[in-house]
Amino acid sequence: MATQRAHKAARLMISPSVILLLAWMIIPLGTTIYFSFLRYNILTPPPSWTGVENYTYFLTDPAFIPALVNTLVLVLGVLIITTVGGILLALLLNMDFWGQGIVRILVISPFFVMPTVSALVWKNMFMHPVNGLFAHLFRAVGLQPVDFLSTMPLLSIIIMVAWAWLPFATLILLTALQSLDSEQMEAAEMDGAGWLSRFIYLTLPHLTRSITVVVLIQTIFLLAVFAEIYVTTAGGPGYASTNIPFFIYNLSLKQFDAGMGAAGGVIAVIIANIVAFFLMRAVGKNLEL
């Protein structure tokens, strides 16, 4: 039985990396869980056991519910903008036009800009109430400039993050569009389907799998948005743009409370898993994993 031997050999060969990766994941997770049960302020060592007190404080903190809601709004908002925008951009880029190679590279480029840099560019060059481009545009038509970051902080951050992730969605969806069988489109054309019908009945079903991939991958990263908030609004005003990662940062690093931070980390892992569970139920069936 060559195949069974091959299976055994494969398992043996692959085990070192699997064990290493598993340890890489389990040890920090275990440490975090252990810390979350300690009263452990870095300024006042030594740590002492407190049980679930950290969790109680974390969950009853007045900022927790706003942070949770903000996280979900941020994730959902960016997902909607990037998938809808990504589909539209991909449809445009899939057409034949002069200079499409350069245009495609330009469209992809925001993805390569670091989050801190893009957030600062947005903050200082676009959304600044005095020097920003938007302020100039508002004044040009005689309107009062808007201070985006203080009047609509969460929306501003959604726009920044969506701008950075739109290229990713576009790229994935564009490759999917390019694999759409042209004979199917022609058959639909002969069957009397107009542009919109072809989009709804052929293009969109063809894209479902890629949309699923875009949604799942983006969710993982969007749950952890931090840099954009840190360099622009710092979670404010009030808690208006604080999400769970920023909330944890506030607790653990600003107040030097490692135990509380660890408890927040564990809760964040649980929240991420709940979101992932619902996502997989909603869209995961398209993946045939």
């Binding site: 069988d181 004979e183 022609e186 002969m190 107009g194 019908s197 052929l202 079903p205 479902t208």
Partner: protein
Amino acid sequence: MGNITLENVAKRFGEVEVIPPLDLNIEDGEFVVFVGPSGCGKSTLLRLIAGLEDVSGGRILIDGQDATEASPAKRGLAMVFQSYALYPHMSVRKNIAFPMKMAGMPEDEQKRRIDAAATALNLTDYLDRRPGQLSGGQRQRVAIGRAIVREPSAFLFDEPLSNLDAALRVGMRLEISELHNRLKTTMIYVTHDQVEAMTMADKIVVLQAGRIEQVGSPMELYRNPRNVFVAGFIGSPKMNLLTGPTAAEFGAETIGIRPEHIGVSTESGKWKGRIGVSEHLGSDTFFYVEGTGIADAITVRADGEIDLYHGDDIWLTPQEDKLHRFGKDGNRI
């Protein structure tokens, strides 16, 4: 009604003229086969008729109406694609219903037509499956089903059997011919396989490099090929084409003689040679005779029971009344 007329229809891709201006008339109810080697423009011609490509010149008339500028959907034609082009995420039922749904047909009429098509094409048990769960032949039938429910004025087939294995191809060939006998609708069928052309067509259009070489019934083309190209293309195995002194003897540049029009003897004859390869099919035997001095190999059809094999000497005698003679320009004399 399904009368299609092409007047001076031409197609250019940039500078390249794929189809020089040509005229063609397809009568209502005819089974027309476009046949030719790959790259001869036969698929392009079909796509011009379908409206999937714009013509560069000339007019296309469908039932006497100018359809040159009409959109594919408005021409009342249905097409079966080489890849079948089924919608992969829809069930067979939905695939077949799609054109009717797009036309806004009432549900009960859709259902009636789907059931009728499914019965006619043996698809009743598969209506709720997806195309991915069907075999090649079944997918082919779904594609045909999707075409017939529209009750088009003509069917267009673009090499529909080329993705099927040999046995299935013969079966589907029969089914398409039966479908034509039953529906009596105009069908235009594109293939590179001259056997399909010979077996199915009422009228064969032989194309080469975008030009129509000859139009006629299968037997007309078989008996009286207009030029060397048609002579060599129609018929299986191929006609023997001989040049040089052998042809000059008959006052021609090239002479053609079909394998079945050469007599075989072990004692005497016009040309002597040795059997290179012998194919014993039971019903017939084909010899590829070498060393005759008039051509590299001459193909001969002999009786199925003949007892000659590789290496045996053989005498060949052509039936002179069945000789085809072609002049310098390749045309029939």
